[in-house]
Every structure is written in C-alpha cells, then in structure tokens.
Amino acid sequence: MVLVLALGDLHIPHRAPDLPAKFKSMLVPGKIQHVICTGNLCIKEVHEYLKTVCPDLHITRGEYDEDSRYPDTKTLTIGQFKLGVCHGHQVIPWGDLDSLAMLQRQLDVDILVTGHTHQFTAYKHEAGVVINPGSATGAFSSITYDVNPSFVLMDIDGLRVVVYVYELIDGEVKVDKIDFKKTTTPTNLPH
C-alpha cells in the first residue's frame, strides 16, 4: 500500500492566502510516500511546506510558478503504475479529455495527473486514467465557477489504485472514492 498525494493550483498568494486549515491538519508528515503537484504553487514557501509533508516531491510547472525550473512534464513509476504529471495549460483545449488522452498516450503512462482547470475530475478512458485534483485552496479560476478546495490521495496496491478525493464543501471535508484496476500488460499489437 503506497499513498500518493496529488494536489495543485494553490495559487498562493495571488489568489488564496493559505491551504484550508482542515486540509493542513490532515496532511500529517510521514504518512504519505509520494507527493505529486501539478503546479501553480506559486511561491517557495509552499514548496517547502510540501517538502515537510513528504520529501519525495514531484512538481511540474504552472504558468504562474515563481520557480521556472520545474519541468513541463514528469513521469515516474510507483509500484505497477506509470504516472505522468503535467500542469495542463499546455494542452489545448483546456480540460478537453481527448486532448489529455493524447498526452497520456504520448507519455505512455497509466495515470495522468493534470490541473489548470481547478475542477476535480477522474476519467477512465482507453489509455488509462486522467485525474485532476482540482485546486487545493479553492483558488479563483476563469475556467471553473464555484471552486471548492480539493485534493486527491491515491492508494496504489498491486494492480489496483483507489483514488480518494477530499473536497471542502461549506466548511466540511467530504470524501469520495473511485476504484481503478489496471489490466495486465496488453498483448503485442501489429506494428
């Protein structure tokens, strides 16, 4: 059982003062093995805070990030799963599932984590799963109205991943979960 935290689009301090207190109290150091951040933190202090939650931190660049050295995309392998990360402002049309699926095929990953729309989504399609953890602070977005703060926790166990989404709605934290099973490696295709 490997816990992976996925979050992003915090936009601190341009659009939000801080992570919600209820989220902060849940993100206890030492409980999570990996952290994936889609980008738009935007400042160093947030980077440092995330590092205290878990030192294995993977960040991709959002268009407002102070640190321009974050990569545009990142891939990593956790257990049986290949994960890909990209902020998403590079994939046009923004939030379009088919275009994101193309990116997923290009990166050749089972799980693609992207952001930018500040809207939580978890889609399963041919190439795998696309997850958008939304905005961890509920930051303003020109794309999405009524953004609730949200983040995602993935529990990777063998060929199965359970995606828990935590959303702060009217001051209360609501949890939902989605199950995905990876099919065994596909048979060889005609070339």
């Binding site: 301090p13 341009h14 003062p17 402002h89 041919e126 070339h191």
Partner: protein, 791 residues
C-alpha cells in the same frame, strides 16, 4: 575578580585556620559538656566563638565559619536546657555568660541562653527579645553584626509571641513580636548600608558584590514578618509597611532600596499590595534616582496582573481601590522625577501597565488609549527610536492589545496606536507591521469596510511603500516574504456588499500604487483576482442593471482593473501582465462584454509583440493566448478572425521549429468549437494541420542536414493524433486517406536506415495504434468510423 590570587589564597588559609581553631575548641567544649562542666563549657565555647571575631574573611568565607559555629551552638543550647532542668537557674545562667571576655562571643552565648530562657517562660518573651535585640547593638562591625543578628533571628524564629503561639500572653502580644523583628531588621539594614562606605574607593565594586551576597540576611526579616499570623492587613497597613518603607527611604542606599522594595513586593500577599497601593507607590519617587524603579514597578504590576488573572472574584478589589488610576499616577510621577530615565525604562513601565490593564480592565479601551497616549507624549519630539532595548519593549507594548483582543479592529480604534507607530524607526515599523499582518492572518480577522482597510494600510505603511530614508534596493528574501504576506492579506479582505467591496478594492489600489516597482509585481495580482472574484459575484446576482452612475458594475471594475495592470508596464513584467490581461478577457467574455474583452486581448497581444522576447516565455504565452481565445464565445466574426489570425501568425514565428509545429496544430482548435455552431470551419482546421505537417517535415530535413540522421517522428505522431481527434468530431475535410497516408509516412520515417531508435516515438505510435483498435472494437457509430481505417 577583584581579589587577586594572592589574597584569595590567603583567605583560604585564614579560613582553614579559623575552622581548625573552632574545631579544636569545640572538641574541648564537648568534653566539658559530657562531664557537665559548665565552667569549662563556657570557657571553651567562648574561645570557639572568638574565631568569629576575624576581619579577614569575605562574606562567603565568613559564612562557612559561621555555619560551623551555629551547629556547635545548637549542642550547647541543648546542654543549657539540661542544666536548667538539673536545677541551674536560667536567670543566673543568663548572668553568667555575660562574663565572657570579648563582646562577640558574649553576645552569641547570650542569644543562645536567651533562647532557652524564652522557652522556659520564666520571663515574658518580649522582655528577653527586647534585651537581646538591643544588646546586639554592641557589634557595629557590619559583617559580624549582620551574622550575629541573623543568628538572633534564627533562634528566635519559633519563639515569637504570635497569635495562637504558646508564647502569647497578657504581657506578650503580636505587636511585640512585630516590634522585635522590625528593630532587628532596621539595625541589620543600617549595618548593611554601612558596608558600602567602608574601605577604599577603588574597591567599591568588590564591596557591592559582597553586599549582594549578604542581602538575603536582611531580607529574611521581611519573610519572618510575612509569616507572622497576627500580621493582618490592618497591622501591615498601619505598622509594618510604614516602618519598613521609612527605613528603605531613609537609608538612601541604592542597593538596599532596590532589593528591599522588590522583597516587599514578592514577600507580602497581593491583596495587601492592592490595599496599600498608594503608600507603596508614594515611596517610589522618594528613592535614589539611580535605583531601577522601573523594574520594581514592573514587577509589582506583573504580580498584580497575575493576581487578577487568578480569578474573576478578585477583580472588584481592583476597581474598589482604583488600582489603575493609582498606578498610572505613580508612573507619571516617577517619570517626571527621573528626567534622565532612559527611554527603554519609560516604555517598560508603560508596557507593564498596559499588560496590567489588559488583564484587569480589558473593556476599558479608553485606559489603553490613555497609556499609549502617555507613551506618545514621551516619544514624540525626539528622534526616531534606535535603542534596541526600547524598541523591543515598544513592539511588546504594541503587540499586547493585538494578542489580547485578537482583532485588529480594536487596535484600529485606539487613536494613539498609529501615533506610536509614527515614532518608530523604519526597521521597527516594518517589524511591527509584520506582527500586525501575522496577527490578522492567524486569527482570520474579517476586515470588511473600506474605512478600516484604509486605516490598516496606513498603519502598516512600512510594508506598503518606502519610508523616508529607505535605501533598500535589493529584493532579498525578507522583502519578498513581506510582500507575499501583504498579498495574502489582500486575499482575506472581504465585504458581502459589492458596493463596499469595490470601495475596499479601490482603497487597496490607492495604497499599493505607492509601493513602487519593487512591490507592484507582488501586490497587483492579488488585487486583480480579488476584482475578478467580485465581477463573478455580480454576474451571479440578479440583473438589476440600473445604469446608475454610482452602482457597481462589472464594467466599472474592468476599468479599474485595466488601469491597475497598466501600472505594471513600467517595471516591466510583461509575462505576468499578459497572463492577467487574458484572465480579464475571460471574465469579460463571461459578462458578454465584447469590446472590453477585445481590448484586453489587444493589450495582451501588444505585450507579446513588443515585450516578450525570450523564446521559452513566448511558448507559454502562446499557450495562454490560444487556450484563452479558444474559449471565447463573445466575439463576432470580424473580431474573432482578427485575433485568430494574429495568434496563428505568432505561432508560426516561434523560434524553434518543434515549438512552431505544436503551436500551429494547437491553433487548429480555434476553428472548431463543439458548443458553437458558427465556429466549425473544417477547412481551416485542415490548413493548420497541414501547415504543422510541413513544419514537421522541415524539422526532419534540418535534422538530416545537420546531424546526418533523421530526427524523431514524434511530431508526426502528435499530428496524427490530432487528425484522429478531428476525424472523430466529424470534420469532413479529414479523410480516411489522409490518416492512412500519415500512418504510412510515420512508419517510413521510423524504419528508415538513417533513423536512430526512438523508444518514446515507438511507444507513442504503439499506444496510438492501440487506441485506433480500441475505437474499432467499440462498435456503433464510432466503431464504424474507425473500421474504415486500415493499416
């Protein structure tokens, strides 16, 4: 160390000699005690005590000698007691010991017998005590006298005629006990003070240190007084305190005054202090000017604060004795009397008074303001404070109300609060401003009117703009952190009323525009987003769009926003400004304000053309432009065409060909919107994709030319995926043949001899083909479409 090593060595020698002498005589004394030989016991005990006549030892060493003598005298006392039970008259014994040759041993023995005498109750305790305390006058040498009287105090401790003690009687009252202790105290203090004037002037410091070692001997008397049961409030008020204070004031000795005032405060109960506040305080201005009366008063106020905190039943007492008024007056008098008091001292006093007031009268903001006002008076007219001790105290002073009330509102209502801030030097002002901002963030205080925001930003102006003499030009970490906290602060300003919220935004804008180039990149974005949030709120509200000049409309806000982003041009931060313009364009789009949205795009394009020259930044900017434009539905055909044409133009002119290729095929999405019937131009979609293909070809040719091998087929595969995307959407211009041709092309590229192995491209192609198969297997309309693709 004032004592040179030589002297220290000598002292050790003398002490050892003294101890040796003492022990030897003690030995003989014991022998005499064992054989009930009173005469010899007296002889040897007197000799033993003679060791205490030395002048050669420092207090510390003398104490060692004294303790040994003390232990021996205990045994002697027991012997005396036994003697009296054997028939010896105590009165005679009392006489007998006075025959000792030297006065010091004589008096020690007398006190020892006196102890037994009192116990025997053959005479009233008070008589014996009086006799002893007066006889001790015979020793005027400070060190020896202090220890002797200390001995007297120790042996008499449990024999005072206190209420309920066995020694109380008709002739003996508590009054007598008090009288005895007071007298002993007075004499001891006189001896102690006299020490200061003994010896050469150059050894003044050494004497001060030695006196310090002895202070507890004097202070013990006050302890004893506080332990006497019969000393109730009445007696404390009428007798004890006045007498003690009299001695304290009259001795005119700095060391004694400071120690004893503090002792009084620590030793006697807080209720007593409250009830004798005036008396206690009136002594303060009478003390020597060199006494640190600020600390004394501060400790008093601290005690009283803690007392007030112990429970609310206690508070009425404070009101009844008008504690605040008295303390306030006293402080004023002290400050007046001590003109040279350093500013740190003044502030410490007021800080302590403030803490006290916050504890006792938290609701009396007028008191708090009064205290701050007194501070202002003292601080104004001088140069800005640079004394680090004083500034620490001032920060404590100003932080206290924030901590207590957890609400910046209250601080903003104190008229003198900003005035004190004015007196601070720039560094301290910023420090305090940070404290204020942190306090607001921590308590999530809601600041909801423009007026309050104005007052607040004025208060923290050190963070908002350069104060006079601020030559800080580097953007160091502290500065950035500061500005980020101002940004966060801006985020939490909120009013439910849109009209008021707009005023808040305007007020913030007014302040941050004074911040200069350094600060605007940090403070403008949060303000813009705050404004866009307001626009959204208005959108959702019912359309009571009165074209009333005064009412808050999105249009008005957009005007404000435009003017604000303009401020960024002088810095310059074109990437940031471009992003902000595009965000605003989207917001205008949502409000159906076509001209406004077009204007925002125009500004963004101008920035792109004129200011954004770095290729990496150009790529990001293009993504934002295309992504935003793709979502616009408010534009009419002409406007849309103009903007789209420009966007595709920019894409084709990017420096690196792969970037060009990708931007161009991204533009294809500008011509086909799912939810917009008018915008479905398959022709132009195909044009874009074909152009992208040409660019991809050019990339391959360049690779061949420069490296001798063909480059990656990745771009082609990406374009293929786009073909499939539009094919699925039903763009008729995307034909099955074109897809199949493209697949063939890709295979050729990848299998050619000149091509190096490219796992990424292989994987991408594989997954793409897999996708095609997957779609075929779906069946239905989609399946049919895909079935047409044969590879």
């Amino acid at each position: 160390m004032m004592i040179s090593d030589g002297v220290a060595e000598d002292e050790e020698k003398w002490l050892s000699a003294g101890i040796a002498g003492l022990q030897q005589n003690a030995f003989h004394m014991h022998r005499a005690l064992d054989s009930n030989n009173l005469k010899d016991a007296l002889k040897y005990s007197a000799q033993m005590l003679s060791e205490l006549r030395t002048s050669r030892l420092s207090p510390h060493k003398y104490y060692e000698l004294y303790m040994r003598a003390f232990d021996e005298l205990r045994k002697l006392e027991i012997f005396f007691k036994e003697e009296t039970s054997r028939g010896c008259s105590i009165v005679e014994l009392y006489e007998l010991v006075q025959h000792a040759g030297n006065i010091l041993p004589r008096l020690y023995l007398l006190c020892t017998v006196g102890s037994v005498y009192i116990k025997s109750k053959e005479a009233p305790a008070k008589d014996v005590l009086k006799d002893l305390v007066e006889m001790c006058r015979g020793i005027q040498h400070p060190l020896r006298g202090l220890f002797l009287r200390s001995y007297l105090s120790q042996v008499s401790r449990d024999k005072l005629p206190d209420i309920g003690s066995e020694y109380e009687g008709d002739a003996d009252t508590v009054m007598d006990a008090v009288e005895f202790v007071l007298q002993n105290f007075t004499e001891m203090n006189k001896l102690w003070v006299r020490m200061q004037h003994q010896g050469p002037a150059r050894e003044k410091d050494k004497r001060g240190k030695e006196r310090g070692e002895l202070r507890d001997l004097v202070g013990k008397n006050l302890h004893v007084l506080s332990q006497i049961e019969g000393v109730d409030l009445e007696m404390y008020k009428e007798t004890v305190l006045p007498r003690v204070l009299e001695q304290v004031v009259n001795c005119k000795d700095e060391l004694a005054q400071y120690y004893l005032m503090d002792c009084i405060i620590q030793v006697f109960p807080d209720e007593y202090h409250l009830q004798t506040l005036e008396t206690l305080l009136s002594a303060c201005p009478q003390l020597q000017s060199s006494v640190d009366v600020e600390t004394v008063l501060s400790r008093l106020m601290e005690r009283l604060s803690n007392y007030a905190a112990s429970g609310s039943e206690v508070l009425p007492e404070f009101f009844q004795v008008e504690a605040f008024a008295k303390l306030n007056n006293a402080i004023g008098k002290v400050i007046e009397a001590q003109e040279d008091m350093p500013i740190a001292g003044v502030v410490t006093l007021y800080a302590s008074l403030l803490t006290f007031t916050l504890q006792v009268h938290p609701d009396r903001l007028d008191y708090i303001d009064q205290i701050l006002g007194a501070c202002v008076k003292k601080l104004s007219g001088r140069e800005k404070l640079n004394d680090s001790k004083a500034t620490k105290q001032i920060v404590a002073l100003l932080s206290a109300p924030l901590e207590k009330y957890k609400d910046i509102d209250t601080a903003l209502n104190l008229s003198n609060y900003p005035r004190i801030m004015e007196c601070l030097n720039d560094g301290t002002h910023k420090e305090m401003a940070n404290v204020i901002v942190q306090n607001i963030m921590k308590n999530k205080t809601c600041i909801s009117t423009a007026e309050k925001v104005d007052a607040l930003f004025e208060l923290i102006k050190g963070l908002i703009r350069d104060l006079d003499g601020d030559t800080h030009d580097e953007l160091d970490e502290d500065f950035i952190e500061e500005q980020n906290s101002v940004a966060r602060l801006i985020q939490i300003l909120h009013s439910d009323d849109p009209e008021e919220m707009l005023k808040v935004i305007q007020t913030v804008r007014k302040h941050i525009l004074t911040g200069g180039r350094k600060r605007l990149p940090y403070t403008v974005p949060p303000l813009i987003f705050s404004s866009l949030k307001l626009v959204r709120r208005l959108e959702k509200q019912e359309e009571n769009v009165s074209d009333d000049e005064a009412s808050t409309t999105p249009k008005k806000i957009f005007q404000l926003v435009t003017q604000t982003i303009e401020a960024l041009t002088s810095i310059p931060v074109p990437e940031l400004a471009l992003g902000l313009y595009l965000q605003c364009a989207e917001a205008a789009n949502d409000c159906d304000l076509e001209p406004v949205a077009y204007e925002f795009f125009t500004q963004a394009y101008i920035l792109y053309e004129e200011e954004i020259t770095d290729s990496k930044t150009q790529v990001t900017s293009i993504h934002l432009i295309i992504g935003t434009l793709q979502r616009m539905h408010v534009f009419g055909v002409e406007n849309r065409d103009a903007l789209t044409h420009k966007a595709t133009g920019y894409s084709a002119k990017l420096l690196k060909k792969p970037d060009q290729c990708r931007a161009v095929y991204a533009c294809s999405h500008l011509f086909w919107l799912d939810d917009h019937d008018n915008i479905r131009d398959g022709e132009r979609v195909l044009l874009c994709l074909k152009r992208a293909l040409r660019i991809a070809n050019a990339v391959q040719q360049m690779a061949n030319a420069t490296r001798g091998s063909s480059g990656s087929a990745l771009l082609f595969i990406e374009i293929l995926n786009k073909y499939l995307y539009f094919y699925e959407k039903g763009v008729s211009q995307i034909t099955v043949e074109s897809i199949q041709d493209l697949i063939k092309l890709i295979r050729n590229e990848m299998q050619g001899d000149a091509s190096p192995s490219d796992p990424a491209a292989d994987a991408f192609l594989a997954s793409t083909l897999r996708y095609i198969q997957f779609q075929k297997d779906k069946g239905g309309a989609v399946g049919d479409k895909y079935m047409l693709i044969t590879d």
